[in-house]
Symmetry: C2
Subunit: 105 residues, 2 copies
DNA sequence: ATTTTCTATGTAGCAATGCTACATAGGGGT
DNA sequence: ACCCCTATGTAGCATTGCTACATAGAAAAT
């Protein structure tokens, strides 16, 4: 019934990061603080699961801005749905934090 | 300088769960939804890192309540400090969620 | 001239983590 | 007899995460 995969925290974080507009590897590394050896393989896995799609930046744009070309990612529809479910699951964390806070007057 | 280990999401969640008063394995499994094969080894690792301590429930209490004895966990001082730092790191997730929300009016 | 720094993507190889399935055990119910 | 509930735990495998390294062009520094 439910074919959406259960995402690790890291995977969910990556999806949310992309969703928030940080859409290429280097930028994602920057925001999340995760190393390249974590980010790039994880992105590849997410793409294999068809939760994200990618396209290379045009060489002309990269050349004009004098830097290597970027590979831009965006969420697929399935990616958005899976992320939504992951956020529900991870909301538990916050509930526990707030519950604990309210305990100590 | 900083000897506090970097916790996985799962480890941080376990610490927070214990902190919130769910202090033995079976209860933790119940709240988090994580299976025993995840929870028990992870608790053992957290104890090896001296982030939590444990003590067995008295046999008399368990006998009186007609159930197997529980192993109760509590955070050490180091555990509390490590958790606090983990929460800072994981706040990034929420920031991204709220940032994204504010983007779509 | 050469070295270093910055942007950018990526892999190899190892260690750590997470999970499924199973094991154990006593009490209570059908 | 058999199953369910509470409770802890392990074996063995698959997946994940990380450190260290590789590549490459442009700019800045020495």
């Amino acid at each position: 019934m439910d074919d959406t995969p259960k995402l690790s925290y890291t995977s969910a974080l990556l999806l949310q990061t992309i969703r928030s507009g940080y859409s290429y590897g280097f930028d994602i590394m920057d925001v999340t603080g995760l190393p390249s050896g974590t980010v790039y393989p994880a992105l590849r896995r997410l793409q294999q699961l068809e939760l994200i799609k990618s396209n290379w930046e045009g060489e002309r744009t990269a050349f004009a801005e004098q830097r290597p070309p970027r590979k831009y990612y965006r969420l697929t529809r399935e990616g958005k749905e899976t992320l939504a479910k992951a956020l529900e699951r991870y909301a538990l964390f916050e509930q526990l934090v707030t519950a604990e806070k309210s305990k100590r007057r």
